[in-house]
Amino acid sequence: MSKPVIATASLAGCFGCHMSLLDIDERILGLIDLVEFNKSPIDDIKTFTKPVDVGLIEGGCCNSENVEVLRSFRKNCKVLVSVGECAIMGGLPAMRNGIPIRECLEEAYLNSPTVDPEDRLIPNDEDLPIILDKVYPCHEVVKIDHFLPGCPPSADLIWEAVTALVEGRPLQLTYDLIKFD
């Protein structure tokens, strides 16, 4: 029988959830016997090459590209999981939601004390994706099946959830696993 397939993505997050996934440490070498990895930033598979059983999403959506990636994950993954606060509620990047995006760009590029006045410009190019007005949690863009809280969720929580999902067990997330910090 073929192994369950896992894919992961980091959208508008800090990569901390992926780091927490790596914090399963030695278990990662055993995980390889359990599952097969498909598209993920920790490997070189850049587009889905087969249907995926479990997709793990870190980060919310801050630009058009994040939305495209999230939609492609929904399309290709049977089960989709929001991993961590940014995916679940926008997290720290969503602190910009109360501020017009133009003000954020001006502060970074026009008001910076290290940039000389004649060099001040706001980046704008066909190769840059369009920034969204706000940072959106994943479930406002596509249907999400499970949510793993934490900033980041602990390695043990990710391990428990992933192994339960690939083995078809119900998720048994005890308080010590899901309590925040």
Binding site: A9, S10, L11, A12, G13, C14, F15, G16, H18, M19, S20, L22, D23, D25, E26, I28, L29, F37, P41, I42, D43, D44, I45, K46, T47, F48, G59, N63, E65, N66, V69, P93, M95, R96, I99, I101, E103, C104, L105, E106, E107, A108, Y109, N111, S112, P113, T114, V115, D119, R120, L121, I122, P123, D125, D127, I131, C151, P152, A155, D181
Partner: protein
Amino acid sequence: MGRKITIEPVTRVEGHGKVTIRLDDAGKVTQSRFHVVEFRGFERFVQGRPYWEAPVLVQRLCGICPVSHHLAAAKAMDVIVGAGPGKLTATAEKMRRLMHYGQMLQSHALHFFYLSSPDFLLGMDADPAVRNIIGVAALNKDLAVQGVLLRKFGQEIILATAGKKIHGTGAVPGGINKNLSPEERDRFLKGAAPLNIDQMIEWSRAAVELFKDYHRKNKDMVDGFAEFPSNHLSLVRKDGALDFYHGVLRAVDAEGRKVLDDVDYQNYLEVIGEETRSWSYMKFPYLRSLGKTDGWYRVGPLARLNTCDYIPSPLAQKEFEVYKAYTDGKPNNMSLHTHWARLIELLHSAEVIKELLLDKDLQGAKLVKKGKKVAEGVGLIEAPRGTLFHHYRINDDDQITMANLIVSTTNNNEPMNRAVHWVAMNALSEKPEITEGMLNRVEVAIRAYDPCLSCATHAVGRMPLEVTLVDARGNVLQRKVR
């Protein structure tokens, strides 16, 4: 009929990057660019927050080396609460050092074993499906286990000093919120094999040997790949020693002449400027004394071993001497030698961790100092990827009114663009067919700088690699997906 190649996302780097290469009718490269495509707006939304939140907030720019941001912000806030450089208690400064060197160990191990070793051990042209840590494990399980456990050990040090492996809360303005208990210390010093510091030192030595051996067998490629002259910048200890936690700014040029020396980083605005370009959210820093065209510089392991005079730990110093002898003591400008330098730093970090663990000051009770408050502070640190700048101003209500950050990867923006251009010219230009291996070489060049693009844009995320050949009118001629 020109063509454009896009590599997106760049994988096995930490963050979200994209490369575009434009070709003319003859397949000759006319332009290459390495873009950072996400934007966060951190500088604006941190305004109004109380200053003491900064060390906890800003680290969430980046989960790869959150400790660097945590400590750079804490160092800036030390200045603001009147407990700047030299004024912390011995316990606080050494706990922070232990946290930071633990992070160096985990980050360098992550970068080499998880992200870069597949290129060396499996080959740049290996099947992308196995070109990862799992492929490394299939080839050499012991080595993969060593990489995993080196990173784990560093993460455990961070847990013991910061309270959490990722996004901890250990450092506070003016000090630290815990010391190291004798039980924690003994676990690191005398833990059951393999998780004790002596084993980590041994494995770090072996990692240096592994790269030296690879170098011996692949000299021409390792030496020649994306080699170009540049300036180099880092903090060094006042006496010229390598130091990741604190020091003065020093820059050398490609020949080793000192361009900057002994600069107090509170005055960084006088020596560093940044340029903005329309096609990337990442700015382009430069040394003001040399100007925008010539003042760009590298940071990180390669730069640090070019600027420092020596390494203050015996085993790493010995390796440093071998490394320096290879370039006759001159600055090393070979991009792939960054891996060699990084592994020497891995060894140094393990040695420093041991030295700190044996220091009784870590069990001290005096954790926090306060002095006369000022309205502005700058905090610098040598993050795993290079010099990290944090600069804040606050108002009378203790709210942040200005934040300016220059992250390590931003400092390497121009060098990474040069490295991409080198590969574009040498591996892609005027070739009849573009192969996956050629494109991976572009990423190998970027990967050498271990870019943390989450920091740089203050974001992350990655996309499929898709190569599209487009004619001058934008018509798609050929699409290759891997």
